[in-house]
């Protein structure tokens, strides 16, 4: 079972920029992104998120997001996707960075989740 990461941000530049940071510690981890609306305005798009799930080569995806409405679109995409996706209400950058480095090190999902727990900042 392989683990990958999907990043969802309201801003295309944030979604495109964060993988640059993660790739430094996780060059082999599949990372896909969904940033902005369909018109690349500020917002999120369920279709873009579904696409990010589909193009991620991992069997299971850990999903991270920036602000509230990104979560709603993520949840809708999860309901419509066949892929197994786990959603984390953690600090966006720190959470994704933690998960990326642990997945690269071969750590399993349960232990990744244990390390993500203290990073939870959203309800």
């Amino acid at each position: 079972m392989s683990l990958g990461i999907t990043l969802v941000s309201h801003v295309p530049d944030i979604a495109n920029g964060l993988p640059q940071l993660l790739k430094q510690v996780a060059k082999d981890v599949p990372i896909t992104t969904a940033g902005g609306t369909n018109d690349n305005d500020i917002g999120t798009s369920m279709e873009k998120i579904m696409h990010a799930f589909d193009e991620n080569s991992a069997d299971e995806i850990l999903a991270f997001y920036d602000l509230g409405s990104a979560k709603m679109n993520l949840e809708m995409a999860m309901e419509m996707s066949d892929k197994k996706v786990h959603l984390y209400d953690v600090a966006f950058i720190e959470g994704a960075y933690t998960a990326a480095s642990l997945i690269q090190a071969g750590v399993g999902l349960a232990d990744v989740e244990k390390q993500l727990k203290p990073l939870k900042i959203k309800d």
């Binding site: 369909n38 369920m46 509230g68 409405s69 709603m72 949840e75």
Partner: protein, 194 residues
């Protein structure tokens, strides 16, 4: 109170008109406590809905689904998934009933599930939560709609972009509550619906 494809289309077209007329007002409400785009987002979404409904849906379920998907894919802000979920839940419910009360109750449950907001959190839920029972009791009036919308003014936001402002969100009407008010006004003005 039976909903038909015809009354659904009239209801939506009236809602779209109200959103278009008031899109600047909705965005202005969203400026001090949000990201200032609610009116433009909703107008874009409802224009897409109007376009799709120009071809009459075969039945209620496909009508609701069409509306939901148009909103989800065009609105962009938080109102896309929230209104989208409301109409998706009505689509599901419409497989077993065309009773407006039951449909609205399913929609409200969907909005609460998706956004996690409760009454008092200064969101669209405050309007839906007050008005769905009024529809059921046959007591929906314009005054009640206005009162439900206005009640959000003195609340402190606990959900959405406004919640980052905490106490400072007081004194502003919630834009999602206002646009929901238009949806209920449009219902009231749709002949043969209530």
């Amino acid at each position: 109170m039976t909903l038909t494809v015809d009354t659904l289309c009239t209801w939506m077209n009236k809602f779209a008109d109200k959103v278009e007329t008031n899109r600047q007002h909705l965005s202005d409400l969203d400026t001090p406590i949000g990201d200032g785009d609610h009116g433009f987002n909703m107008d874009r979404g409802m224009k897409a809905v109007e376009e799709k409904l120009a071809t009459k849906p075969a039945d209620l379920t496909s009508g609701f689904k069409t509306i939901a998907m148009a909103l989800i894919s065009t609105v962009g802000g938080a109102s896309g998934p929230l209104y989208g979920t409301a109409f998706l839940e009505m689509a599901k419910k419409s497989a077993s009933t065309d009773d407006l009360n039951e449909l609205l109750e399913a929609a409200l449950a969907g909005i609460e599930m998706r956004g996690g907001a409760k009454p008092g959190d200064k969101t669209m839920v405050d309007v839906w939560d007050k008005l769905v029972p009024e529809v059921k009791a046959g007591n929906l009036t314009e005054d009640k709609i206005k009162a439900a919308v206005l009640a959000t003014k003195d609340m402190v936001a606990h959900k959405g972009r406004a919640s980052y402002l905490g106490e400072r969100s007081k004194g502003h009407i919630d834009p999602g509550a206002e646009s929901s008010g238009y949806l209920f006004e449009a219902m009231l003005e749709t002949e043969g619906l209530l």
